[in-house]
Amino acid sequence: MQLNREALTRAYRQMKLIREFEERLHEEIQTGEIAGFTHLYCGQEAVAVGVCEHLTPRDKIVSTHRGHGHCLAKGCDVNGMMKEIWGSQDGLCNGKGGSMHIADIDKGMLGANGIVGAGAPIAVGAALSNKIDGPDDDGKLAISIAFSGDGACNQGTTFEAMNLAAVTKAPAIFVFENNHYSEHTGDAYAVGTSKDIASRAEAFGMKVWRADGTDFFAVYDCMREVLDYVRTPGNGPAAVEFDTERFFGHFEGDPQRYRGEGELDRLRATRDCIKKFRESVTGAKLLSDEDLDKIDAEALDAIETAVQESRKAPRPQPENVLDNVYISY
């Protein structure tokens, strides 16, 4: 699939923004300035961006505890997100959610989620809403995506959601990002279908796709087919498994003693989606190193601005603890 210059630039900018967001958090968390649990998406950028570049605000996504990438890719404001992770009153969720609960309903981002496997049923509900609304003028349905990992694929909620979507023909897409680690356990141990997640979706009668999640173009092209299928009324859900990599631990502070010798260096050298993207577009002379370096610098600037703004952003006041439990009570 040949993307034009503008689309390529945009995709690279999005991936790079996620990468720098996460790399910077990795640094900042070590200083103790940021509270709580943070799970970084570094290494998986091609999946979030390769999926979300196809979506409109009417399409919904439900994310995971490792949700920063999905949020940014779906259009959440980078400053609002950083301020939220800093716990500011000006954060996207007024400091009530933090890293694991970033949401922006207007953008179709129905929430990261601290409970592994909880997102899939919610995504099916949103898909049922899309089905009720019916197709747009172009005859296509808005869709809903559940991002899940190789951990969530073992939760009963994910199975229930896949079956409910299948029997109701809900326009839902189950995107499984297999980064090969559910917390600190390998998929070789924890995923009972020979490390193959897509075959589980197949067992629920769904059409499935598989692609290399470290190759933006493989993700993007695959998702075009998946979306074309699910947007067609009457087809129902589909699933796709992306083989991807997690460059950091399960959470920040994870000693990662489960990694093999030199594993992280090898992954960074051979399975880095951003490096692969660069090689691909410069090799094909679609974008120059100069173009890409400029985007790199812009991404770093954007993150620097977000961090500086977060540092001076207003803190919540104790009385804000009572805000927004109910609309009226």
């Binding site: 919904k60 400091g95 929430g111 909880a118 919610i122 229930e160 959601a161 927004n324 109910y326």
Partner: protein, 337 residues
């Protein structure tokens, strides 16, 4: 006014709201009943007869018969609501909350708070609940204590057909998530229900079911009828009781309880749930804290014991509160010197 059974008041209210607002959708196990069988859709029409005729009237998009997957039902209700619909989900027996607690407690209840007030989740979760049918330990429980404890969730417990209608309509039109606890034993109860298609009972406003100046009895759901029977018997002996039907346990009408206790100085709380960390203990704490000086006797709690719900008729009778137990508690508070 029309004389209706409690279950028909529920069915008719949902039906009318689905006619009025196309965002209202129904989902749950066997809410259509008969899907995928020789009998076909509507062969059953909902096991509680609270969704009879919905499928034919509104079709499969808005009347979603689900597999036996409570987590998926609860989660889909949350997703539908976040996406702008007004789902009315049925968890066939309230006991099954154990299967799908995460989707209610960690998801639906918390979306608005976690997202800094930027989401609206107007989901109604109907949960037929309560004992009295010899349905044993996993199909009989009162779960008000769990859901009342959840910030972000409102809880309604209608005790009459009129309130079943008015509270449910309020729940469906309410923008916050509501757990609607229908007592299974009340489904066949008949009573007058207003015809007004906009009749709503606002949340947080208790109903004075009986008036008297000697003792305050606080109850909810099926316990209201027990309290009324006890009050009527006691009236024969010249003992006057206020019977306060809470209607909603979250929000709680604290004022109605405190105002009554200030007059009577004596309080009996009737609660179908086991006694620990329950509505009964919650209201006891409220009154001890805010109306201590008014109390003339220790607060009495008539509750289920700290046991699962037993099966055999004799055992279930021993388990449940009863009008006789309520009357005995009232007399006990009056005997206190």
């Amino acid at each position: 006014m029309a004389k209706l059974m409690y279950r028909d008041a529920i069915r008719n209210t949902i039906f009318q709201e689905m006619q009025r607002d196309e965002r209202v959708v129904v989902l749950g196990e066997d809410v259509v009943g008969g899907m995928g069988t020789a009998g076909g859709p509507e062969a059953i029409g909902g096991i509680w007869s609270t969704s009879t005729g919905f499928y034919d009237a509104f079709g499969p998009e808005r009347v979603i018969d689900t597999p036996i997957s409570e987590s998926a039902i609860m989660g889909a209700a949350g997703g539908l609501a976040l996406a702008g619909k007004r789902p009315v989900a049925e968890i066939m027996f309230a006991d099954f909350i154990g299967v799908c607690m995460d989707q209610l407690w960690n998801q639906i209840a918390k979306f608005r708070y976690m997202f800094g007030g930027k989401s609206v989740c107007p989901a109604v979760i109907r949960m037929p609940c309560g004992a009295g049918y010899n349905a044993a330990a996993q199909h009989s429980q009162m779960i008000s204590q769990f859901v009342t404890n959840m910030p972000g969730i409102k809880v309604a417990m209608p005790a009459t057909p009129a309130d079943a209608c008015g509270l449910l309509r309020q729940a469906i039109r309410d923008d916050d998530p509501v757990v609607f606890l229908e007592h299974k034993f009340l489904y066949a109860m008949s009573g007058e229900v207003p015809d007004d298609p906009d009749f709503c009972v606002p949340f947080g406003h208790a109903r004075l079911a009986r008036a008297g100046e000697d003792v305050t009895i606080v109850a909810s759901g099926m316990m209201v009828g027990y309290a009324e029977t006890a009050a009527d018997d006691l009236a024969q002996d010249g003992i006057g009781c206020d019977v306060i039907d809470l209607r909603t346990t979250s929000p709680l009408d604290e004022e109605a309880i405190l105002d009554s206790v200030e007059v009577t100085g004596r309080l009996v709380i009737v609660d179908e749930a086991p006694p620990r960390c329950s509505l009964a203990t919650d209201i006891s704490a409220l009154v001890a804290n805010k109306a201590f000086a008014s109390l003339k006797a220790p607060i009495e709690m008539v509750t289920a014991p700290h046991t699962p719900v037993p099966f055999a008729r004799e055992l279930e009778g021993a388990y449940l509160p009863s009008p006789v137990k309520v009357a005995a508690a009232v007399r006990k508070t009056l005997e206190y010197r």
